[in-house]
């Protein structure tokens, strides 16, 4: 009991989110005319308060709730990142500027949003196999509902069904793997598993652990949309309402990487300064390296021929998952830091790109790239903003996307000549990616439409949020030392009692 009380104190942001979630549900249930406004204000207020408390409570490293979760600097970093992502999505994407969500009930949407945020954080702080599985499923189940939010829309429902079936199989395989991991090690706690493995494994057990790691990776791969668990991604991103797509492409992906890193770094590796050791000489790094190479190649090559913007950005997000995974593969302090920096940069560039896509859909009612010609003359701000976001996704200096790529490639090259081919594959992929991003730019700026449509002006809040996300791609470089320092001090993982 004292443990639970002490844990509650460290769990304040999560408790605030839970409270806000309950209030939103109650406000929506009143049926009053003000319920939409109230649920929006409650959501924004709850997220902002949770973000502030999360930053204030930062520091220290401790297990909470009997070792089910762990609050360490890494968890605090992801807490802030995940709450921040939800806050940006809620503020920038509204029911007014999304044509797809227009006229639908808001209370349910915001309560789902808070629930996903809460479960994202739980996923990033999980320290026990049971907690890991619970949080992963909680993220998944709430996202299924969000994807199907347009009840009368066939695409939205079909996307959700594909998402559910794919997710159920992946997480089922993961659970089967987790059950064997428990059977083999006799514990569900990640640090205890590491201790068991570090004490030495027999050859037959080593084979079993390889198989287990592959099964468990099915769950992480599904959450982060990496090959060969990426098939749901383009369909779901295309079918879901765009605000949901934007959210899914950043927050659950970040949480997925957080738990992937936590599982492999605390469960299957022994920390030290510089490159870490593998626990029980189980070489999962090689497997993840192959997955990373396949992920970025498949994502980039498939994106080359896409004409639907949401599908194009879906394949681009698969490719980015490949780059982010380079940080996990590096298995060092710098690799972990690169992963964090990349996810932070990815938040601003990807949300920005999706905001532009949403706003074009609001004015023109289209997601098709073939309807984008002449956009430059119709809305210069939107075109310039999209150019910045795409250049950032490409990794062009001096934008944040470049810093993300710089950190991951540096972390890989630092591991020595055996990793050079891997970095080279990444570089070739970045070049392929530049082609299709540039194609979007060319369509917007150079191509002319057969029928010139009249120019349009963005509403004030939309224009303001385009500007904010645009500055989010440029301004962080001014305070780069602080951001780098934040990531550097967030590196310590909870390693055991």
């Amino acid at each position: 009991m004292p443990d639970v009380v002490a844990s509650m104190k460290r769990f304040e942001p999560e408790l605030i989110l839970t409270g806000a979630l309950l209030l939103v549900v109650v406000a929506d249930a009143t049926g009053a005319r003000w319920r939409d406004v109230a649920s929006r204000i409650l959501t924004i207020g709850g997220l902002a308060l949770a973000l502030v408390r999360s930053v204030e409570l930062r520091g220290g490293s401790a297990q909470v709730f009997g070792g089910m979760a762990v609050i360490d600097p890494l968890a605090s970093f992801f807490e802030a990142l995940l709450i921040g992502a939800s806050l940006l999505v809620v503020l920038a994407f509204t029911f007014r500027n999304s044509r797809e969500l227009h006229g639908l009930g808001q209370g349910e949407f915001y309560s789902l949003m808070l629930a996903v945020t809460l479960s994202n954080i739980l996923l990033a702080t999980a320290n026990d196999l049971a907690m890991l599985y619970l949080a992963l499923e909680m993220v998944s189940i709430t996202s299924y509902v969000m994807v199907a939010y347009m009840k009368g829309d066939r695409m939205s429902n079909e996307a959700s069904l594909k998402y559910i079936l794919f997710g159920a199989v992946s997480t089922g395989a993961m659970l089967y793997g987790l059950s064997f991991l428990y059977g083999l090690t006799g514990t569900t706690s990640l640090p205890a598993i590491r201790e068991f493995l570090a004490a030495g494994v027999t050859d037959s057990n080593r084979f079993a652990i390889y198989a287990i790691a592959l099964l468990v990776f099915a769950g992480f791969g599904f959450k982060t949309a990496t090959v060969p668990f990426h098939f749901w991604c383009p369909d779901v991103y295309q079918g879901a309402p765009t605000p949901v797509t934007a959210f899914l492409s950043v927050a659950p992906k970040a949480a997925g990487f957080a738990i992937m890193m936590r599982f492999f770094y605390t469960g299957l590796a022994v920390p030290r300064t510089g490159p870490w050791d593998l626990a029980g000489t189980i070489d999962w790094v090689r497997v993840l390296m192959v997955v990373s190479v396949l992920t970025m190649t498949v994502g980039n090559v498939a994106a080359l021929t896409q004409t639907n913007m949401k599908r194009l950005l879906a394949y681009s997000s698969i490719a980015h998952a490949g780059y982010i995974m380079m940080g996990v593969v590096a298995l060092s302090q710098n690799g972990a830091r690169a992963l964090m920096i990349y996810l932070l940069a990815y938040l601003f560039m990807n949300l920005g790109a999706f905001l532009v896509v949403t706003l074009v859909h609001l004015h023109d009612g289209t997601f098709d790239l073939r309807d984008y010609p002449g956009l430059y003359r119709r809305s210069p701000l939107l075109t310039v903003a999209m150019a910045i976001f795409l250049l950032s996704l490409m990794g062009i200096p001096p934008l944040v996307g470049f810093m993300g790529k710089l950190y991951v490639f540096a972390a890989i090259i630092e591991r020595g000549p055996a990793y050079f081919w891997f970095a080279a594959v990444g570089a070739v992929n970045a070049a392929i990616a530049a082609y299709y991003y540039a194609r979007v730019l060319k369509t917007m700026v150079i191509d002319t439409a057969p029928v010139e449509k009249p120019p349009f002006r963005l509403a004030f809040p939309d224009a303001a949020w385009v500007w904010i996300l645009l500055l989010g791609n440029v301004l962080p470089l001014v305070w780069w030392a602080r951001i780098d320092g934040w990531a550097r001090t967030s590196l310590s993982l909870y390693a055991g009692p």
């Binding site: 619970l134 429902n157 006799g186 639907n308």
Partner: protein
């Protein structure tokens, strides 16, 4: 004959394989969901068997209880989606839900 750990593991792997087989071969979405249930329950059987015969602690049984709850939640959401899709398309078959592709 004493029923031991290996008996449970054989049953659970059979369940897992049958579940995957059902998921891969069935056209009807509801049947696919039944396959998913088999997969989850095979893992449950593993967890409980390992808890009883292997580790000697109760973590596995606790885990299994949570998995049962999750499985129920997942199927509830999945069936709701299948129903809305059925209202829109008049078919529960997965090979006919194919407007998203490319």
């Amino acid at each position: 004959m004493m029923v031991g750990l290996s008996h449970y593991l054989v049953v659970s792997s059979a369940l897992f394989s049958l579940g995957i087989l059902g998921i891969l071969t069935r056209r009807n979405a509801v049947n696919v969901l039944m396959g998913v249930e088999l997969v989850l329950n095979s893992a449950n059987l593993n967890l409980v068997a390992f808890s009883r015969f292997g580790s000697g602690n109760l973590q596995g049984q606790l885990f299994a209880v949570f998995v049962i709850v999750i499985a129920a939640a997942e199927v509830a959401v999945a069936l709701a989606i299948v129903l809305t899709l059925y209202r829109l398309r008049r078919t529960p078959n997965l090979d006919e839900t194919d407007i998203l592709r490319g």
